[in-house]
């Protein structure tokens, strides 16, 4: 059960499970429907989801074709918001920023594979302690650790620049220099997500039958060869899953950026993510029509990237 929900195949589309057969039996014995009872169970949730999620999606689509007046009221302007995205240079810049951020955070996956293969060695002492240490950053509040990292990155007295100074290197003002700022934020993103990747990959690793490693050992394969020949190929479903999750959450980058840099940061235009532009347009500039169009763009990019990954998975993911 635990791993069933972990595996990528079962996550997007629920497969009818064991419970399906008994339900067939029940149908013969009793009436075809459970009457109005089910509605008592589902109506509060279905209505709530309809009001707060489904209908808003429809509205957002509509808003993306409108212009919002300063004194309220909306005007239908067709595709203007979408056309504006093509001439707005902050959009491609922010897509690039989000991609760079995502690529840096993706580097956490090979690191997690190596760490997991060390932690999951049979009988390794302190394995639980190691899991705890690596997992802690994942559950910390981004708004809180963002402040801590801001201090760590401080250009004048932060420990990073002090350390670089030992080697005669003058460190930059990390969170306020374009280029460095994105790198600084992405490193924190990697730090936060490593624990999650490790948990998923460790679970995948425990599924691999130990006999495979024993057989390989008898054939004289060393640990490196076992890692390359058995561990990595059999982990590809888990790696695929964390890749999907990392890309989707990478395109949701907001919290760390907002907290580590702040609204007034002059390096923000060169560092901002799509979600940050969405927030800025919708709630600071009050240009909700344009913001809605940017929301649709985010949806389209995530959908395309996810579909693309499912498409190419056949080439590298091994389902046993």
């Amino acid at each position: 059960m635990k791993t069933q929900t972990l595996t990528p195949e079962s996550t997007p589309a629920p497969t009818p499970s064991r419970a399906a057969e008994p339900t067939e039996d029940r149908r013969k014995g009793r009436s075809k429907s459970d009457g109005w009872w089910p509605w008592l169970f589902v109506v509060p949730t279905v209505v709530g989801i309809g009001v707060f999620y489904l209908w808003p999606i429809v509205q957002t689509f509509y808003y993306s074709f409108t212009k919002w007046g300063v004194f309220g009221g909306t005007k239908f302007i067709g595709l203007d918001n979408y056309l504006r995205m093509f001439t707005d240079s902050t959009i491609p810049q922010s897509i690039l920023n989000t991609l760079i951020y995502t690529v840096v955070v993706l580097l956490g996956i090979p690191i997690a594979v190596i760490l997991a293969s060390l932690i999951e060695r049979p009988g390794l002492r302190f394995a639980a302690l190691y899991r705890t240490l690596y997992f802690i950053p994942y559950i910390t509040m981004p708004a809180a650790v963002g402040i801590v990292w801001r201090l760590i990155y401080n250009g004048d007295f932060g420990p990073i620049n002090w350390f670089l100074g030992l080697f005669g290197i003058q460190g930059p003002y990390w969170t306020s220099t374009p280029g460095f700022a994105l790198l600084a934020v992405a490193t924190v993103g990697l730090w936060m997500s490593l624990g999650f990747n490790l948990i998923i990959i460790s679970a995948g690793l425990r599924e691999i039958p130990r006999e495979l490693f024993e057989a390989a050992e008898m054939d004289g394969a060393g640990r490196v060869r076992q890692f390359v020949g058995i561990t990595v190929p059999l982990l590809t479903p888990s790696i695929f899953f964390v890749t999907i999750v990392t890309v989707i959450s990478g395109f949701q980058l907001f919290d760390l950026l907002y907290v580590m840099m702040g609204k007034a940061n002059l390096a923000m235009p060169q560092t901002q993510s799509l979600v940050y532009i969405f927030y800025n347009q919708a709630f600071l500039q009050n240009d909700k029509g344009y913001a809605a169009a940017i929301g649709i763009l985010i949806l389209a990019i995530i959908a395309l990237l996810t579909a693309f990954q499912f498409r190419i998975q056949k080439r590298w993911v091994n389902y046993v």
Binding site: F41, W55, P56, L118, F157, I199, G295, I296
Partner: protein, 277 residues
């Protein structure tokens, strides 16, 4: 390679070295935060960095309450987390149960539509959600922060998956005894779903406690904001009082850290189930 083949002991030493150094690096920002929260502002800004304060400044933690709206923000965070957890546990488990084990018209289509929401990024609901809260006059209230979050397509899916895996016998026995579906659900099935409920509780606590974007949108006063919003807005006014910032951020994440350390296995299993954050 031949070396690693030779001695299992020897190669485990290398594994321990890598894991211990890496693990220390992972928590070092938090250790730094703890030391700085106990230092003076001058010690924070000194180079080389302070390893341990000359005199431990415990009062920094008390000062947090007087120099910012920490008390009210903590209350807001606790309140929204508790309400969301109770709401989701009740609503998602009931709906998940019905979708897993009951039959009614349009069940399949409704479920398909609800589940499709899980993959939609939140930017597609935020603007209309904000308008709903604004029209209800709920901006800057706990109700406004909480309202959309007590409903969850993801929580429904999680609970449905869990109920589908439970055996039929107990349910059938209870029904034959004349229990109505409510009684069957609350007395028989819900207790059996404890593991699934734990996963839902843990995920909801994490999301709710740490969430920033939505509360940032619906709160504009320091008193009505939760800790995540309060901390991220603090930078301007208290930007130079680093020990207070460190103490405040430490206290803001402490409850989650304590929860994790007390229930590590449950938390990791719950996150493993969650898939998406």
């Amino acid at each position: 390679m031949s070396r690693s083949k030779g001695g299992k002991q020897g190669s485990n030493v290398l594994a321990h070295c890598v894991l211990a150094i890496g693990g220390l690096a992972m928590v070092s920002p938090l250790l730094y935060q703890i030391v700085m929260s106990l230092s003076t502002n001058a010690e924070v800004q000194s180079t080389p960095p302070t390893l341990w304060p000359g005199v431990v400044q415990w009062h920094n933690f008390a000062d947090v309450f007087t120099s910012m709206n920490f008390g009210s923000q903590l209350w807001v965070t606790v309140a929204i987390t508790v309400i969301r957890v109770i709401g989701q546990v009740l609503l998602c488990s009931m709906a998940g149960y019905a979708f897993a084990r009951m039959r009614f018209r349009f069940k399949g289509p409704i479920l398909a539509v609800v589940l499709s929401i899980i993959m939609v990024p939140s930017q597609l609901f935020l603007i209309p959600q904000y308008q709903i809260i604004q029209n209800l006059g709920w901006l800057n209230t706990i109700a406004g922060i909480v309202a959309p979050g007590i409903f969850s397509a993801f929580g429904l899916f999680l609970m449905r998956q869990f109920f589908m895996g439970l055996p039929d016998e107990l349910e059938d026995a209870a029904r034959l005894d004349g229990a109505n579906p409510f009684q069957v659900f609350f007395r028989v099935m819900l207790p059996l779903a404890a593991n699934g409920l734990w996963a839902l509780v843990i995920i909801t606590v994490l999301w709710s406690w740490n969430d920033l974007l939505w509360p940032l949108v619906v709160t504009s006063t320091a008193n009505a904001a939760p800790l995540s919003v309060g901390l991220s807005n603090l930078q301007g006014e208290h930007a130079n009082n680093y020990p207070i910032l460190m103490a405040a951020s430490l206290m803001a994440m402490a409850p989650i850290l304590v929860m994790f350390l007390l229930m590590q296995k449950r938390v990791m299993a719950g996150i493993g189930r969650s898939g998406l954050k």
